[in-house]
């Protein structure tokens, strides 16, 4: 469901926490280990550059192609919202 082109995805964890791990590894290294999945990512430093890097990560790590209509502040605001976006894209491609 969530193919990876670089590092394998740990399927023992839920998608929200996997997304948080990806954000921490690639964009926000200072993100606390106990960061909640509904924490505001913009509030902890996600900026316009980070958003576009996230677009690329969604494609490379989760096989999820972000369309211009998906590029909303709401979709990128939390790990929960990003996970929903990924699930929605996976559901659309499965249908």
């Amino acid at each position: 469901m969530y193919p990876s082109t670089s590092q394998p995805v740990d399927h023992t964890r839920d998608l929200e926490h996997i997304v948080l791990d990806v954000v921490r590894e690639n964009l926000l290294p200072d993100l606390p280990a106990d960061c909640a999945t509904d924490a505001d990512l913009f509030g902890v430093g996600l900026d316009s550059m980070g958003i576009m890097q996230m677009v690329l990560l969604l494609e490379e790590r989760f096989g999820c192609t972000v369309q211009p209509a998906d590029l909303t502040r709401l979709n990128f605001s939390t790990a929960t919202a990003l996970a929903m976006l990924i699930r929605g894209k996976a559901g659309a491609s499965d249908a």
């Binding site: 200072d30 316009s48 550059m49 576009m52 369309q67 211009p68 590029l71 909303t72 502040r73």
Partner: protein
Amino acid sequence: MTFASSQMQVFPFTPSDGFILALDGLCHRAWGGCLSVSTEIEIEGEPDLEKLRWLAHEIPRRFPFLGAVLQRGVLFQAPCWQLPTDSPSVPVPLEFHRLEDVSGDEPVVASANALRKRLLKLPLHKNGGPPHLRLDVVRHQCGRWLLLITWSHLLLDAVGIELFVRALARLWDDSDAVVPGHRAQYPEVSAWQRFQDSEAIRKFFSHLSGKHFPSASGGRYVKGDPLHLVETFTDDESRRFGEALKSVGGDLMAVFFHAVLAARAHRALLHSRGMKHATIMLRVPAQLRSKTPAGDPVIFQNHMTMLHYVLENDELDNITSACHLLMHQNVEQLRRKHHLSFSAFLSFARHIPSGMMLRLIHWLHRGELVSLFHSWTGTFAQGLDHAFGGRVLNGVHIPGIPAPAGSGIFFSNCQGRISFVLSWVDSCLRADEVAIMRKQLRHDLLGEPTS
């Protein structure tokens, strides 16, 4: 040559500082000033003059980096900032003004526009040293006033000045407030490593050298004054603007939307000059902002890299498809790590004297740096609703820009209202050409006719 001494703190140039210094030199050549920006904040109420004077005294004490002096070094030695540890704390310049129809004792200015024009021409750093910024207060109508902070781009960028404004607002409310530290140090890597890391962007430049992307100045170094046009839309106009953005994609498409609008306005200029098939190239700043050891974003730091957007004439016919194309270009550049490669390139280029750097660009791109300068700075000091004793009504950055390129278009919003700034060097655009660009912008933003 040794920079450091026991009485000096030394801060190396950031990668983009060298490029900014070259642009600063172009401004000096054009009008004798520097690459400066006037940040204008409109505030409700009446200004507290005594407290503003206090603030002007407090700023250099709280932000000692404003005492930094540019040290250019010898040939192929990267410049740096020297910060004397024992320099006297001199207040930043502060002047009060009023418009003619507002009563008071301050000197009269004909208009805020006339004052901005004068401020943008001022040399803000003498021999590379302070003051680097100044404050001007204009009472322009009953119950409203303007705070203009005019600053040198050598020390700050738009994100930095908004952090600075927030820090000043905190100081205004609480004289004991802690303000962020002035600057982070940057890790240095070898010149050879930087050269290797810049390979991807050098290949891109090589590809770009086959294209002609004419600017308003036509690639010429020219003399002339910095002029500007500022328009802030009404709430209704801004709502219509929001509708136009929705037709393109999500709200985060704004960065591409504004870039396309700027490119289309420039295309209208080129068409009026008979250039119907020119390529348009934009360099859009991308933040790689550092943090102080305390975790605060650094104030005194220029943006660290840029992304390049290239649009052919026909690709600009449709706004939506042009925005989607820019999004694709952005993702591809990140995939190829152009942002890191360009930063490495700039870091390497710091060692090249400004004049030589400009001659190299001149040779590569027929004199052009970029088609026009452009940035979208987003919401002005987001969340700052009250500052300096009153409600913040508007905030906008008005840059003076060098030639080449000779013109620039900048967007921002404040309290939900969109502003655009068209800046140019007076010898690069005629009045009718400014009108053409303005009409195209208003057409694209609001659906107004272009003729």
